[in-house]
């Protein structure tokens, strides 16, 4: 078979995810098909490692990526006894005068989650019940267009803080995936160096976020003055 047919695995991933099929199934099928097309045996034989063996080896060797599961009982228990309400209280104490400043604080708050190795989706937990009412409330009589802007900015603040903050922890899946893949490709890396090099990017993400949110403040002020 021609060399390029090996790219079938990449095609399967792109097509499978675009069709919204189950990601786990798509990834495993892509792995098996790629291995077979490349002429690897299914199971190890005659000194050649099989595709299934590789899947098993990769999965067992990279258990460290999924270790965070062991923290779920403690976090779940804390949630039951008011962790989220208390977090909400914590944000409320930083009552900021403008939408932009509130969102800067919120982005930093989410980066802090990353540093602490806590992984969560803040849209339902913080943005909907808390950040949106606070940001809409700080602006009296906002127009529909302004509200739409504010909602978008609220969601963006969550995404910026979440995406770039999580790489500051050596035990979250982002850093551990990079560690696992690069080690598998024969590179010498340490998770501490990964975290170290993530610092400039995270700092930049916070600064750029601040610029955009303060710009939003300016726009809202101008419209309000008219």
């Amino acid at each position: 078979m021609p060399e390029w047919t090996k790219l079938i695995g990449v095609v399967i991933i792109v097509a499978g995810l675009a069709l919204k099929l189950r990601t786990t199934l798509v990834v495993v099928i892509a792995a098996v098909v790629t291995g077979l097309v490349a002429g690897l045996p299914l199971f190890s034989r005659a000194g050649q490692e099989g595709v299934i063996d590789m899947l098993g080896r990769g999965f067992a060797d990279n258990r460290l990526i999924t270790l965070f599961l062991i923290t779920l009982p403690a976090i779940g228990l804390a949630e039951r006894y008011g962790l989220q309400d208390q977090s909400a209280q914590l944000i409320r104490r930083f009552r900021a005068a403008t939408v932009g400043r509130l969102l800067i604080v919120y982005q930093l708050f989410r980066v802090l989650h990353g540093i602490l190795g806590i992984r969560l989706n803040g849209h339902p937990i913080f943005v909907r019940p808390l950040i949106f009412p606070m940001s809409a409330g700080s602006l009296r009589a906002a127009s529909a267009a302004e509200l739409e802007q504010i909602k978008a900015a609220d969601s963006a603040s969550e995404n910026y803080g979440n995406f770039y903050g999580q790489n500051l922890s050596p035990v979250l899946p982002g850093v551990l995936l990079v560690y696992g893949v690069l080690t598998g490709l024969g590179c010498q890396v340490s998770v501490w160096k990964l975290v170290f090099y993530a610092i400039p990017v995270t700092a930049l993400s916070v600064i750029l976020g601040a610029v955009q949110f303060l710009w939003l403040d300016r726009q809202l002020r101008r419209k309000g003055a008219k």
């Binding site: 786990t24 299934i52 098993g56 270790l67 190795g117 050596p170 990079v178 893949v181 930049l204």
Partner: protein
């Protein structure tokens, strides 16, 4: 038995606990399938170093099939609990986890042992101490605590194992030399000696692949094996950690502008009842473009002028 194996074992026990709770969930449609999935995953955690790789491989296929059949996940996210009167003290058990993680890593480093292992062993130790502290603080029971953990686990579902699965995909891609193929394609288009263009191709590939798949974690093994390692890290003797983490976050720019990342860009539109389905993406677009450009310039600069 070393410390890390012990932590894997403990994680496996927690997963078996979740499996038992899934099994006990009468009335749940796929309780058996879900229980089976977490039981198998727990087994891989406990016995992963002892099982022959082909057995683990078959178990991985079985898990993917169970998730493909729609048996796993989709539980409610809300806790049934009531806000307590514990105040800020409720942060204590949760804060124990990172404090112990970093503390153990530091001790390992001080003893001149592997600090990566230290962090992971610390994570396990911190989780156990957090459980104990949480139980002492709330005067709750082990059963309640496991049920709360199970709730979080079910809400995330099989997505939990995706990064681990993608790392195994990377192993197969490396053996099939898929990376070399992509690398030779890019080498064909980009002159070998142009560091700037190679850095750009690396970051562009990562962002585009993430836009199409909606998942920067899925893009990373492909780009790392096809562009990053063969075309940048090896020929230019670049620090792999530096280039690796920059490549991953270059993908985040892709996540910010794609509707494929529904959790982040589409769900909030619904949650906040926005008028335009692209409202969040439109706001994030200029930020993503600037962030991406900064990645290219910074990565190039750090390699060129180190």
């Amino acid at each position: 038995m070393n410390g890390l194996e012990l932590v894997f074992g403990l994680t496996g026990l927690v997963l078996w606990g979740f499996a038992w709770l899934s099994f006990r969930e009468t009335g749940q449609r796929h309780r058996l399938g879900s229980a089976c999935f977490w039981f198998v995953l727990g087994g891989i955690f406990v016995f992963g170093s002892l099982l022959p790789h082909w057995v683990t491989g078959l178990l991985v296929l079985a898990m993917a099939a169970m998730d493909g059949a729609g048996w796993v996940g989709g539980g409610p996210l809300e806790s049934g609990g009531k806000p307590g009167k514990l105040g800020d003290r409720i942060f204590l058990p949760v804060l124990l986890i990172p404090v112990v993680t970093f503390g153990t890593a530091l001790v390992f480093r001080w003893l001149q042992l592997d600090a990566v292992r230290g962090a992971l062993i610390g994570l396990g130790l911190g989780a156990v101490l957090a459980m104990a502290a949480g139980l002492a603080l709330t005067r709750s029971t082990m059963a309640v605590m496991m049920r709360e953990g199970h709730r979080l686990n079910e809400a995330m579902g099989a997505v939990n194992i995706l990064p681990q699965l993608l790392a195994s995909l990377g192993v197969v891609f490396a053996a099939a030399k898929v990376g070399d193929l992509i690398a030779s394609g890019i080498r064909y288009a980009v002159p070998d000696n142009s560091l700037f263009l190679l850095v750009m191709a690396n970051c562009l590939g990562m962002a585009l692949f993430t836009i199409v798949t909606g998942n920067s974690f899925a893009a990373f093994p492909v780009i790392a094996s096809g562009v990053l390692v063969p075309l940048l890290v090896k020929p230019f003797r670049v620090d792999a950690a530096l280039a690796g983490i920059f490549t991953l976050t270059a993908g985040a720019s892709g996540t910010l502008v794609t509707i494929m990342a529904a959790n982040f860009n589409v769900v909030p539109v619904a949650l906040l009842n926005m008028r335009s389905p692209y409202g969040v993406i439109r706001f994030q677009l200029p930020y993503a473009v600037v962030m991406w450009s900064c990645h290219v310039l910074l990565l190039w600069g750090l390699i060129r002028f180190r």
